[in-house]
């Protein structure tokens, strides 16, 4: 399930693997959330066009799909940046300065939370506890965990990612 990089540049159509996945799950009860996870794994978010396709193939109303997507924090309706920065806002990270980390990143990137930079490179979001409380404050960039982050480290970390 881990996705090191999120291939957001793909053309947003159902891949053969996705079609197969949906077919495999179609008859299983309670399939919708599993299918949405798979879609998001593929695209980094759930494109509206794909949601229509899922509705069609699973034979569920689009309204129900959006009902589920908007209920859960994990599902994204908007395309994230090519590099996704997730700052943990669990209690331990909050107490140890998670807010300062977010403020600093916003300053560096010049965009606020849940917004993609104009070049499409970065987006930053505050996420629920990722369970690395011993390393607080923690952030995750493209699946990699950064522990005991200090605001002054952020320039270098982000510059490193820009280079790649």
């Amino acid at each position: 399930m881990s996705s090191e990089t999120t291939p957001v540049e793909k053309v947003e159509t159902l891949t053969p693997e996705l079609i197969e996945f949906i077919a495999e799950w179609k008859t299983k009860p309670g399939n919708l959330i599993m299918v949405l996870h798979r879609v998001q794994q593929e695209f980094g978010y759930i494109p509206r066009k794909i949601a229509f396709e899922v509705a069609d193939r699973l034979d569920v109303p689009l309204a129900k799909i959006y009902g589920v997507m908007t209920f859960y924090n994990f599902f994204k309706l908007k395309k994230p940046g090519r590099n996704q920065i997730q700052v943990c806002m669990g209690t331990a990270c909050y107490l140890k300065g998670g807010e300062d980390i977010i403020a600093e990143i916003e300053g560096i990137l010049g965009v606020g939370l849940n917004t993609v930079t104009p070049d499409g490179e970065f987006s930053v979001e505050a996420v629920r506890c990722i369970g690395c409380c011993g390393l607080a404050p923690v952030m995750v960039i493209n699946g990699k965990v950064y522990g005991k982050v200090q605001p002054q480290d952020l320039h270098a970390i982000i510059a490193d990612i820009k280079k790649v």
Binding site: H37, L95, R128, G131, G147
Partner: protein, 595 residues
């Protein structure tokens, strides 16, 4: 197993993300290059618990415990420790060093711990079923299948006194008996691994470190209640735990320990994973079931209870990860072994994720009845940077803040409820003098308001109102009336909300008003935040006698709020100041003060 030595490397998420994978690779390379491949085995284990000092390396049989090991240290460990038999003292934990004791027993962090749930975490390679079996794994299941009737299993569990570790503490055996009493037909066994409490990772570590223990327990439960199908509802945010569970299920199925006709007993049981998608309310049983069914995770009124009418309308038992991890051990060692541990009302142990302002953050397991003081000061090593302890929060957003005067309370379900908190799932957050109580209450309410599903008004509206009052107070605009209003709303939410989320969401407010009223009063009457956390109440002032006019503060100020000529005293324009605190930090002459 002819290896002379074993190098155990912690493979918990915290250690792995701290270059733990590179460390394993470096150690493997060194072992190979030195021709030790037949003598030394490197094992990537589950979480050893001491996350603060990760990555952790333990060497057996001598039980040497190294902390904060980097990939660059691999060569020295192999050359010195393995080849020459000399302990690498610079990598030992401080406390162990001072006592001249290199073994794990000598480390304060482990001394008061007692491991049942985490028995295999940090000991076995979680990806190898053989290692689990070698540690008596699946023996409990075997005993249950061949020596016990389903009702014996439930009776044994009742005698053990095991109670739900998800937070509410309902007796597990009784819960099972309800589902078992339902007429035959399709029943389900569900494991709740949707650990939503922010600041807690007990279940994550158990699943990552010992996935088979949960599979074994679920099969035992399936046998006891007559279910042939199990689901593990796990957070999508835990990719490593998901991988290890998938692998464990495949291995167990391969060994005939899951699937059709387990070990030839005639009992069949399969397990599937279902991913959560980030909804705290899914900790509520009925909401969790709705989510497995692929719907919005909204709770439903109870009764009917899931044990009668659960998943797809069928009898369903839902147990939390930690509860289940106890079950195989109870079946193997017996209820009367288990019920000797703990207090009069609460048997066994509790796993806590000890985090916040404590020196030794990490995952710990202690017998019920251990005091908070022992946990925070003996195991946790006290408060970071010698600061003063202010409060501990158990139970996450549903729990309460516990003040210093209750540090000696022995922990069990009843004692924590009595002092206004709850056991909860095991998050234990330590706060020090730099944390502002109304601000922390606001943090928790912000969380519960965001997570409220909106179905019932007390939670939806009450939570929002509480959050508004707390924000007002933290902004310095609170009034004495707000306090009474918060008390009234809290009471209403507690009594009238549909599910546990709303019923407990006001606990952080109620408990902090009870024990830390003085801080609220200070915010309201004196417009003062003693912790310096509430930015709107802060004022930065430059002492003209101390200021030498070095201009460092003026240069660092992001909004040009500091004026002054070189070598003249500077002044902060309070209208422009955004209270970022950079001037305070940059000043070398202590001329900038914060009040």
């Amino acid at each position: 197993m002819a290896y002379k030595q074993y190098i155990l490397v912690c493979g918990g998420t915290a250690c792995e993300s701290n270059r733990g994978i590179a460390l394993v690779d470096a150690l493997k390379k060194e072992v190979e290059e030195n021709g030790l491949i037949n003598d030394v085995q490197i094992v990537r284990t589950g979480c050893l618990g001491f996350c603060e000092k990760g990555p952790i390396v333990k060497i057996l049989p001598e039980d040497t415990f190294y902390v904060e090991v980097r990939p660059e240290d691999a060569s020295e460990i192999i050359q010195e420790h393995i080849i020459k038999g000399r302990v690498v003292s610079r990598l030992l934990y401080d406390n162990a060093q001072s006592k001249g004791n290199v073994a794990i027993d000598g480390i304060d962090f482990y001394q008061k711990q007692f491991r049942i749930v985490l028995r295999n975490c940090g000991v076995i390679d979680p990806d190898k079923i053989d290692e689990y079996i070698a540690r008596d794994g699946y023996k409990g299941l075997e005993r249950v299948l061949f020596e016990m009737q389903p009702e014996d299993v439930i009776e044994e569990l009742k005698i053990s006194g095991l109670r739900g570790r998800g937070g509410a503490g309902f007796p597990t055996g009784v819960k099972w008996s309800f589902a078992a009493a339902q007429p035959d037909g399709q029943k389900y066994m569900v494991c709740n691994a949707d650990e939503g409490d922010p600041g807690a990772y007990m279940d994550r570590s158990t699943l990552e470190g010992d996935p088979h223990s949960i599979l074994e327990a679920m099969a035992i439960a399936g046998y006891a209640i007559g279910a042939s199908k199990g689901f593990i509802y796990i957070r999508a945010e835990y990719p490593l735990a998901i991988d290890r569970l998938e692998n464990a299920i495949a291995q167990a199925t391969d060994y005939g320990l899951l699937g059709e006709n387990i070990l030839g007993s005639g009992f069949s049981f399969t397990i599937e994973l279902r991913l959560g998608a980030g909804a705290f309310v899914c900790g509520e049983e009925t909401a969790l079931l709705a989510s497995i069914e692929g719907k919005r995770g909204m709770p439903a009124p109870r009764p009917p209870f899931p044990a009668v009418k659960g998943l797809w309308g069928r009898p369903t038992v839902i147990n939390n990860v930690e509860t289940l991890a106890n079950v195989p051990v109870i079946m193997l060692k017996g209820a009367n072994w288990f019920n000797k541990i703990g207090t009069a009302t609460t048997k066994g142990t509790k796993v806590f994720a000890l985090t916040g302002k404590v020196n030794n953050s990490g995952l710990i397991e202690v017998p019920m009845g251990t005091t908070l003081r022992e946990i925070i000061f003996d195991i946790g090593g006290g408060i970071k940077n010698g600061k003063e302890f202010k409060a501990a929060q158990t139970g996450g957003p549903s729990g309460g803040m516990i003040p210093p005067k209750f540090l000696d309370t022995p922990i069990d379900y009843e004692s924590l409820t009595k002092i206004g908190s709850i056991m909860g799932s095991g998050g234990l957050i330590v706060m020090d003098e730099d944390d502002c109580i109304p601000d922390v209450a606001k943090f928790y309410l912000d969380f519960t308001v965001d997570e409220s599903c909106g179905k019932c008004a007390p939670c939806r509206i009450g939570g929002r109102k509480l959050l508004n009052y707390l924000t007002k107070i933290c902004d310095g605009k609170g009034t004495a009336e707000d306090i009474q209003n918060m008390k009234d709303i809290s009471e209403a939410m507690c009594r009238a909300s549909l599910c546990g989320l709303g019923q407990t969401a006001s606990n952080p407010v109620t408990s902090s008003l009870r024990y830390f009223m003085d801080e609220y009063i200070e915010h309201i009457d004196d417009k003062k935040c003693r912790a310096g956390k509430c930015k709107n109440l802060l004022r930065y002032i430059i002492d003209p006698h101390k200021c030498v006019g070095c201009t460092a503060c003026a240069r660092v100020c992001p909004v040009q709020a500091i004026q002054g000529e070189r070598k003249q005293a500077h002044v902060i324009d309070q209208e422009l100041c955004i209270k970022c605190g950079q001037c305070f930090e940059v000043c070398k002459f202590q001329a900038v003060s914060r009040s």
